[in-house]
């Protein structure tokens, strides 16, 4: 009885699990991101959060005006650098770049 049930269950599982192999179109994993680009995007988000938090810290009196100005300038420079790297790494940029041109 148990053996029969195991066979039935394994057959059901196999039908579900092996679906991606049944046809060339069967793969439902569509990666929406390039790992490098995804990491840069995530860093950009984190940088924006840092900028927002620094503004809040300043408004709350944790940072003096000179400290805030210095940090804000640093953060914005880092964010701009990230934006440039994202532009360089994005597929659109790759397409518009002349053949053989450097990425950055």
């Amino acid at each position: 009885m148990v053996v029969l049930l195991v066979i039935v269950l394994v057959a059901l599982v196999a039908a579900f699990v092996l679906a991606p192999f049944r046809s060339a179109e069967g793969v439902d994993v569509v990666y929406t991101e390039d790992p490098v680009l995804a990491e840069l995007e995530a860093r950009k988000q984190a940088k924006y959060r840092e900028i927002r938090d620094t503004e809040l810290d300043h408004a709350q009196g944790k940072l003096t005006e000179p400290e805030f100005k210095r940090q804000e300038a640093e953060l914005k420079a880092e964010a701009i650098d990230l934006l440039k790297r994202i532009d360089a790494a994005s597929p659109a940029a790759e397409g518009s770049r002349a053949p053989g041109a450097p990425a950055d």
């Binding site: 699990v17 192999f21 439902d28 940072l63």
Partner: protein, 741 residues
């Protein structure tokens, strides 16, 4: 249904093996079909585990004693609620719980990351599948070697007419939920661990694996917090020694991953923002996962004496091999990736939020190391001296209390210090109000003449500092928000905290921990505990309280006696202060008769089986009055023997297979028990009574509640949408600035 459960478990093992193999092929070849197939295998594994659990629970509900597990851990008389929770009171059941929760957690994270992590996810899938295969393999090994007691669907050749029943100590609402909470805590840490290993293998050691799994770490932390609190609550109300934390090995085993997990939740923020502490973070999550396995090992191996352990078993060695494999494999992997783990930046200043986090991490890990040393000292001492000696609560308190004070103080300082670097003047300005408040509270406590231990006073100082610090942070944040976008104070407050749930959820947790430690400091410093021996009518004075033993009572609800095989003898105690009655407490001692008891001595069997305490307690904001009692029944021996002899004589005359006659026999047993109860109430023997005045214990539970709410607030979904909105604003601003560069 048992056959279906066993079949589902067998299919689950095959499926988890396939998931691992398919994930490895997908990871190495880059063929997405294999990766997709392995992910689907985990969904199927979850379905199979749920089928198996439902079948096992159905067997418990049916009292199907053809299953060894049901026969050994339940009975027809076990209340329905406890029948459902009896599964994890057993070894095989708790292994099943591990595998089931893992299948749910893994399916959830694999679904959430199905479009991302094309390199890391297949390796993480393989790691999670390997762990699932280990636990399923342990269970299925029990089918081949029944003495291992790990296969939940093991059948008995001749099922007994009645089961052994659930261990009496586990018949408590907190204990019904405590084990699954702890296991869920342990298991959810598998997810960040698996992704960390995947990131190490693929050298994708940026913060993306952290971003995708940090919620799972927080869920694990939440489950562990609730599990620890429920265990403490159970200990406080069921064990009869008067405390909630005994530094017992199994308690410590759950505390250690909680400590390193807390450190991990803090330190990953530094990697996300600054690209620092990469080696530290992977090491922390490996340590947390290893400690989670160690927690399971300690409960199941019986290697250390514990009030919570389930005795010696055969899964200890395989678990130890798994732990050793994880430690050795992870260490080799981390060492081989040290170049990739190199930090992207250095700390700008000691006066920065990240430095505070690092300090908090060092203290948390230091605390975990102390607890580890104290927990395993019996084994260490035996190894080096040949004699086993253990370290008691005072040893733990001596070393852990100063560190806890330091941690609490940092929990208050951290929110006041900005990221990167700030000047000393800014820090001084931010710290001024919380420091003044802490000094004021401490001074007030000294002024009212409370005789504090220095460490307890320091704990109060740190708690006052942290609570004021978070309050100041919320007030200033709300004011800043209001000045930026206008509106009323409440709407500015709501806007502030809902825009950054993670930050403010964390601050709420800090307040919860501060409130909890106030409860711990007060209850441990000012507890009054006296052991009394009283008879009805007698009284004793404990500090400003007078405790009177008013009368004895029995809890002989015949339905309860037959359902739970339980008798309870108690004492009604009135507590007086300044001539006024302040409480009426009814502690009782409960006696359980198991099926292994001598059927010819049904009354004696109650007093030779397991006994538990049901404490009498009143809880107020300022203090708990707590009592436990144990009647000295030695003077009842003759009466019990007389009752059993009468029963035996009558039973000898009753036909075994006549249900009507057996009913009369059961009625006779009931009459004898009632007679015993009446005698107890009429001529109650002296009782040993422990009477405690425990100040501020309620605040311990309130603090846990606040922490749980804070963690739930941080976990609450919806942040993604807001993040995008914020991103759009900053992107537009930066785009303008970029055009000017």
């Amino acid at each position: 249904m048992n056959a279906l459960g066993a079949a589902a478990l067998t299919a689950a093992l095959l499926t988890s093996i396939y998931a691992g193999v398919a994930a490895l092929i997908g990871a190495r070849s880059g063929d997405r079909r294999w990766v997709d197939s392995s992910r689907r295998a985990f969904y199927a594994l979850m379905g199979l585990m749920l089928v198996s659990v439902v079948c096992l629970e159905a067997a418990f509900l049916r009292s199907d004693f053809s299953l060894s597990l049901v026969a050994n851990h339940s009975s027809t008389t076990t209340p329905t609620g406890y029948k459902l929770t009896a599964m994890w009171g057993s070894q095989a059941g708790s292994l099943m719980l591990w595998a089931t929760v893992l299948s749910v957690a893994a399916s959830s994270v694999l679904f959430a990351t199905r479009h991302t992590h094309r390199e890391v996810a297949p390796w993480a899938t393989a790691v999670m599948a390997a762990i699932a295969t280990f636990f399923l393999g342990l269970m299925m090994a029990g089918a081949l070697f029944p003495s291992a007691d790990t296969f939940p669907f093991l059948t008995l050749a001749s099922p007994p007419p009645e089961g052994a029943g659930l261990t009496p100590l586990l018949r408590h609402p907190a204990m019904a939920i405590h084990p699954p909470m702890l296991y869920a805590g342990y298991v959810f840490f598998t997810v960040p661990f698996a992704f960390a290993i995947g990131a190490l293998i693929t050298r994708r050691l940026d913060a993306s694996w952290i971003r995708s799994t940090r919620r799972y770490a927080l869920i694990a932390w939440l489950f562990l917090t609730v599990g620890l609190a429920l265990g403490a609550r159970w200990s406080y109300s069921e064990l009869g020694w008067g405390g909630y934390w005994a530094w017992d090995p199994v308690e410590n085993a759950a505390l250690m991953p909680w400590l390193t997990g807390t450190a991990f939740i803090h330190s990953i923020m530094i990697q996300e923002r600054r690209g620092m502490l990469k080696t530290w973070n992977v090491s922390l999550i490996v340590a947390t996962f290893v400690l989670s396995l160690l927690g399971t090992f300690l409960v199941r191996s019986g290697i250390l004496q514990s009030i919570h352990a389930f005795g010696e078993s055969k899964v200890g060695l395989p678990l130890l091999i798994l732990i050793a494999t994880v430690i050795i494999g992870s260490t080799i992997l981390i060492i081989s990736r040290l170049d990739d783990l190199r930090t992207e930046r250095r700390f700008d200043s000691l006066l920065s939020r990240e430095s505070m986090f690092l300090g908090n991490n060092l203290l948390l890990v230091g605390l975990a190391l102390i607890v580890f040393w104290g927990t395993f000292f019996p084994l260490i001492s035996e190894l080096f001296t040949g004699q086993e000696s253990s370290l008691a609560a005072p040893w733990f308190n001596r070393y852990t209390t100063p560190i806890a004070i330091g941690l609490l103080f940092l929990a208050g300082v951290g929110p006041l210090v900005a990221w990167r670097r700030v000047s000393l003047a800014s820090v001084k300005r931010s710290l001024a109000i919380p420091l003044i408040a802490a000094v004021a509270v401490t001074g007030l406590l000294l002024l009212v003449g409370v005789d504090f231990e220095p460490l307890a006073l320091a704990l109060f100082f740190a708690a006052a500092f942290t609570i004021t610090s978070v309050s100041q942070e919320l007030w200033r944040g709300t004011s800043a928000r209001r000045s930026l976008s206008g509106g009323s104070l409440p709407s500015a407050f709501a806007s502030l905290i809902s825009r950054n749930r993670r930050r403010y959820g964390g601050y709420i947790v800090h307040v919860g921990i501060a409130v909890m430690l106030i409860g711990v400091a007060a209850s441990s410093s000012f507890q009054t505990s006296r052991d009394l021996r009283l008879q009805p009518g007698q009284e004793a004075t404990v500090d400003e309280y007078t405790v009177k033993y008013d009368r004895a009572f029995t809890n002989l609800n015949t339905e309860e006696v037959s359902k739970e095989q339980k008798l309870a003898f108690g004492a009604v105690l009135s507590v007086w202060r300044d001539g006024e009655q302040v409480a009426l407490l009814s502690p009782e001692r409960e006696y359980y008769s198991g099926v292994a008891a001598d059927p010819s001595a049904p009354i004696r069997s109650f007093f030779e089986g397991e006994a538990t305490s049901e404490v009498g307690r009143t809880e107020t904001a300022s203090r708990d009055l707590w009592t436990a009692m144990q009647p000295d029944l030695s003077s009842f021996d003759a009466l019990i023997d007389k009752g059993d002899s009468r029963y035996a004589r009558f039973a000898a005359t009753v036909p075994q297979n006549d249900p009507a006659a057996q009913a009369v026999l059961a009625q006779t047993q009931g009459e004898l028990i009632r007679a015993l109860g009446a005698e107890y109430e009429k001529q109650a023997p002296p009782a040993d009574i422990r009477f405690n005045v425990n100040p501020f214990v309620l605040w311990l539970w309130v603090g846990v509640g606040i922490s749980v709410l804070g963690a739930l607030f941080a976990l609450w979904p919806g942040a993604e949408l807001r993040r995008r909105r914020v991103s759009d604003v900053y992107a537009a601003r930066l785009a303008r600035e970029l055009s000017e560069v």
